[in-house]
């Protein structure tokens, strides 16, 4: 049992990991074909797993409706939403447009799905405002630096801010756009690169832990 549950999966992870790692240094066509094949396999696994996801979704919401838990009414919309997209897709045979215009699927996609997605994305603007308000409360030196940088950026992006800058600090010879460019190109990029270097090293070490079987929590412990 241990062979099937532990050793064989670990061997598969090791061999696949090493081959994938080696393929980075081997430019040969065989190496390219190997990576393409692995990617195809991944897509096939994802396609099958999607069915599992769908079953989980329906099962979870069916249980909520049958048990009449709090907010069970929302679960009905999962099934309504599913049918609102799948039935038109079947009727339209997967086509969104014909010579005469939108099919039922195209109409559902444009006027239901896209509209709802757009609405969610638009909500982001309001959340950014409320988050900005929270972050502008100066509670530490770091928060003060963040506030100053953000304030200059906001100031520089509106014409009134540029006029104010020129009026107050025009004598320095530096426009607000120069300061914004410096903030974005120097401290922001330096910080971002520092984070990215840490992330890259962390990613390599995590990969090594998985390839060499030191980290195996993803398959359960002994």
């Amino acid at each position: 049992m241990k062979l099937i549950k532990k050793q064989i999966p670990l061997a598969i992870v090791f061999i696949t990991g090493v081959l994938t790692l080696v393929s980075y240094y081997v430019p040969h066509k065989m190496s390219v074909n190997y990576i393409e094949t692995i990617n195809k396999w991944e897509n096939i696994v994802v396609a099958f797993a999607f069915l599992l996801g769908l079953v989980s979704l329906f099962f979870s919401h069916y249980n909520k409706i049958s048990r009449k838990v709090d907010g069970w009414g929302y679960s009905i919309f999962v099934f309504i939403g599913f049918l609102a997209m799948v039935v038109p897709a079947l009727v339209s045979q997967g086509k969104q447009m014909t010579d005469t215009g939108f099919t039922a699927l195209g109409w559902s996609y444009k006027f239901i799905y896209t509209s709802l997605s757009g609405t969610m994305f638009a909500v982001l603007a309001f959340y950014i405002v409320s988050t900005a308000y929270r972050s502008f409360r100066i509670r530490s030196l770091q928060a003060f630096v963040l506030f100053i940088a953000a304030f200059i950026l906001i100031l520089g992006k509106v014409p009134l801010g540029q006029i104010i800058w020129d009026w107050v600090l025009g004598w320095t010879g530096r426009g607000v756009n120069d300061v914004i460019e410096w903030i974005m190109q120097v401290p922001a990029v330096a910080g971002k690169r520092g984070i990215m270097i840490g992330i890259s090293i962390g990613a390599i070490v995590t990969s090594l832990k998985i390839i060499f079987g030191i980290e195996k929590q993803y398959m359960g412990k002994d």
């Binding site: 081997v26 040969h28 190496s31 797993a49 099962f59």
Partner: protein, 428 residues
């Protein structure tokens, strides 16, 4: 050439009497044609033109080289042609100025390439011209020299069959760095087994206990959001490790956790992880299959659904660990509004500011990767944190000395030194 033309036409006159009148006309006009031909002269041969297999590639490109002509007149240009045995005919690849595309322009490091400014070097991607071709396919290449648009010289055709290579010598620096890292990695693992390691504290991870304890006291659920990454994303893998430790504590405290998923594969893996954690905590009876549930594989549908759940259920704690994009703020802001204690971690650096402002604790990139090891407190896993820190130290020292050397090189015109330093730290 003119004599040959006349002889040829005369012989035609002798054999084809019916064409006599036409032949006379040709003789008269050939005089002017021959004079023009004499004026232009035949195209010279471009010397030193060679075609060779492009090194360190999959066998889909060739490299054409020939010496730079320092005496080339202004307006001189080169045209490159390639022909395949199968397709036939010449295909024009590129045209460029006589001063362009030298050996120094090929983007390879000094240890893998000896090209100089004294020669032209042109890489021709054959698969872009002829699509996928079988191994061993033969191609013929030639270069033409144009002066103000007129053909001045042409190379002899060079034949080449590109071959796939087995090693990217240009990535040698990368390989050496990786081998160094692996050596340090195994040293740290064996060291951790023998002695144990001191690990710096990470506030965001220390707060996990506090968050779970709060949820237990309040009798409210905990939301664990693993983001929208696939299982091949390192941050999602790290998130699964953290979920294992969090759910173990949840099981110990007999609290309640919910894990909404964006990716069905991640959901399947997380189900196993959570089940195992409940088993290890000695509470397999508390495990329910709907702890992990699939929500949607669409970004904003997922965000809307999770936002709805958070708004309705008012969780005591929210964890956002993994790969996040625009939905990061949509989720974190709703969580903050609901009054939950929030701990986030992602390796997407442009989403970090949103988490910083909306969450109580944020794990930055590498801390997310380290979190599973930190929480498990297993020496073997903790050793990886030491490797990360050592790696960062090496990068810091390299950046410091690299910066000094490149600055000195630029100041005193030591181009060789600058190139060596830049090549050593460049990714190919």
């Amino acid at each position: 050439m003119p004599e040959n033309t006349i002889k040829c036409i005369l012989s035609m006159v002798m054999t084809k009497n019916k064409l006599f009148l036409f032949a006379v006309l040709v003789i008269f006009t050939s005089g002017s044609v021959c004079a023009a031909a004499k004026k232009a002269g035949p195209a010279a041969v471009l010397p030193g033109f060679t075609a060779e297999d492009m090194p360190y590639d999959a066998g889909e490109a060739v490299l054409l080289r020939w010496p730079v002509n320092p005496a080339a007149a202004a307006g001189t240009a080169y045209e490159i042609y390639v022909s395949s045995l199968e397709a036939g005919g010449w295909v024009k690849v590129t045209e460029f100025d006589a001063a362009a595309k030298t050996g120094a322009d090929i983007g390879l490091p000094f240890w893998a390439w000896n090209g100089t400014k004294d020669e032209h070097a042109v890489k021709v991607e054959l698969n872009n011209l002829f699509g996928n071709f079988p191994p061993g396919a033969v191609f013929t290449c030639k270069a033409a020299v144009l002066e103000k648009g007129a053909l001045k010289a042409e190379s002899l055709p060079a034949t080449i069959a590109p071959q796939g290579n087995w090693f990217r010598l240009d990535r040698l620096n990368n390989l050496i760095a990786l081998l160094g890292l692996i050596t340090v990695f195994f040293w740290a693992v064996s060291h951790a087994k023998r002695k144990g390691l001191f690990i710096r504290r990470i506030a965001g991870l220390d707060a996990i206990d506090e968050a779970i304890g709060r949820a237990t006291e309040m009798g409210k659920p905990i939301f664990y959001v693993p983001g929208i990454g696939s299982m091949s994303s390192i941050s999602t893998i790290a998130s699964a490790f953290i979920l294992g430790e969090v759910s173990k504590k949840v099981a110990q405290y007999d609290s309640h956790i919910k894990v909404p998923h964006y990716d069905p594969v991640v959901m399947t893996v997380c189900k196993e992880v959570v089940k195992q954690s409940y088993l290890e905590a000695g509470r397999p009876d508390s495990y329910r299959d709907d702890i992990n549930h699939f929500v949607s594989a669409d970004q904003f549908s997922y965000a809307a659904s999770v936002d709805g759940m958070i708004s309705r259920e008012k969780p005591a704690a929210c964890f956002y660990m993994g790969h996040f994009m625009a939905e990061s703020l949509l989720l974190a802001e709703v969580g903050a509004t609901s009054g939950a204690i929030q701990i986030a971690g992602t390796d997407v650096e442009h989403q970090l500011p949103f988490f910083f402002t909306a969450c109580d604790y944020t794990l930055i990139g590498e801390e997310l990767y380290a979190a599973g090891a930190y929480l498990s407190k297993e020496p073997m896993l903790l050793s990886a944190l030491k490797v990360q820190d050592l790696g960062k130290l090496v990068v810091m020292v390299s950046v410091f000395f690299g910066m000094i050397l490149v600055s000195l090189g630029a100041k005193f015109g030591w181009d060789g030194l600058v190139r060596v330093v830049m090549d050593l730290f460049k990714g190919y």
